[in-house]
Chain length 244, copies 2
């Protein structure tokens, strides 16, 4: 093995770190595509496409495993400190969040298959609006990661509130439909969970924004995000409060 | 600083690693208590206790931050390899799962406050059964972590299926109540999300089981868990498929 002080080693470490970042970005792109396809499958009532999304989740999982293995290998072999260390730990954590976003996208697709078996429900039009917003946010946070752009990461972090607000109003709408006609209950419960999944995707995007902040600046993002409603079907007290 | 080969340094590293493990175990104990209190608040319709659980989540978050900071410091200063490296990365990941379990417990408590405002729903008796099982599983996996007991971790990993099965039958029960009487719709949707939160807690316990396996044996747990139903309100294809 090369000596740890050699120029060659330094350069090859930078190359390795870039490769790790690239794999994270690739996982991010895949997750974005999965989310887009899942929403399309829901809107077009296309169960074949939905099934493809479900099957595609294995690729996201495999990429996360690759990132984990690569990160642990770099930690062991290179013993990085400072920003390099934060970059590796950050990649590890972001990969975890992306894997979850992938899971949520796959679950949206699974539920789309069930929703497609029932007559159309009006609210289906409000769900894609929420999903588009979540997709934009995921896209923004991945750009912020590539650029190591803290300002952009903070903007994403704040923007998640919009997803939460849409989620709150959609939830209320769905309850109304359920009250109107009991036949709506089953599809509407699935739409509720679809909406919840999308809201969680937004939460994971804000997690990633926090990781970028920490990665670049070396301290946690502790600023308080403006808070919205009741924190049940709405905004969360902390952007990473996945359990809300 | 001590030389990396000195006996003193080796011993003090062991002490630090033990301290890290202890903090993870402490976070685990706190999360267990939060989950127990949240369920009690739901069963006894005690909104004061529920509010305490919600407030208590900040302590879990603070512990997770401590673990993260400690782990990154150890990685930077000690540059561990092999099992020590896995122990630190494992602590970091387990802390993340515990933080999520804490979030879910807090969310159960928040929803309990809402449910308490409506007349009692029958299904409330089935939810605690599910919660007790989830608590047992969390307790078991923390024991497995303390003991570095792979067999026990695998047992937890398999047992999560029971939580998933209870979740499936509870979901169906709740839909029936909603169909019977529209006044049940609002409390039942909250109970659905409470049940979903508990199911996710089980998923995070299985994640922790996987981390223990990796931590001890140095390779991922790839064995396939026996699969149950339709993977929507039931078992998940992968124990960490949080999005299901």
């Amino acid at each position: 093995m090369d000596s740890a002080s050699g120029d060659h080693t330094v350069r090859s470490f930078d190359v390795e770190l870039q490769r790790l970042t690239d794999t994270v970005v690739r996982a991010g792109g895949l997750v974005e595509a999965q989310l887009g396809d899942a929403m399309q499958a829901l809107i077009r009532r296309d169960s074949v496409q939905a099934a493809e999304v479900v099957a595609g989740d294995a690729r996201v999982d495999a990429l996360e495993q690759d990132i984990h293995d690569h990160a642990v290998r770099l930690l062991a072999l290179r013993q990085p400190v400072g920003e390099d260390l934060r970059a590796i730990v950050g990649a590890l954590k972001i990969a975890g969040d992306l894997e979850r976003i992938g899971d949520y996208a796959a679950n949206v697709a699974k539920r789309a298959i069930v929703v497609n078996q029932a007559p159309p429900v009006r609210a289906v039009t409000a769900v894609p609006r929420m999903a588009r917003l979540a997709q934009e946010i995921v896209n923004e946070v991945l750009d912020a990661y590539v650029e190591r752009d803290v300002e952009r990461a903070i903007a994403v972090w704040r923007r998640d509130e919009e997803v939460d607000e849409l989620h709150t109003s959609l939830f209320r709408e769905l309850v109304t439909y359920m009250m109107e006609d009991p036949r709506n209950i089953t599809p509407c419960t699935h739409l509720m969970f679809i909406a919840k999944n999308i809201e969680r995707i937004g939460d994971h995007a804000t997690n990633i924004a926090e990781i970028i902040y920490y990665l670049v600046l070396g301290r946690p993002l502790k600023d308080s995000r403006p808070k919205g409603g009741a924190d049940l079907h709405g905004s969360t007290p902390r952007p990473d409060a996945d359990g809300s």
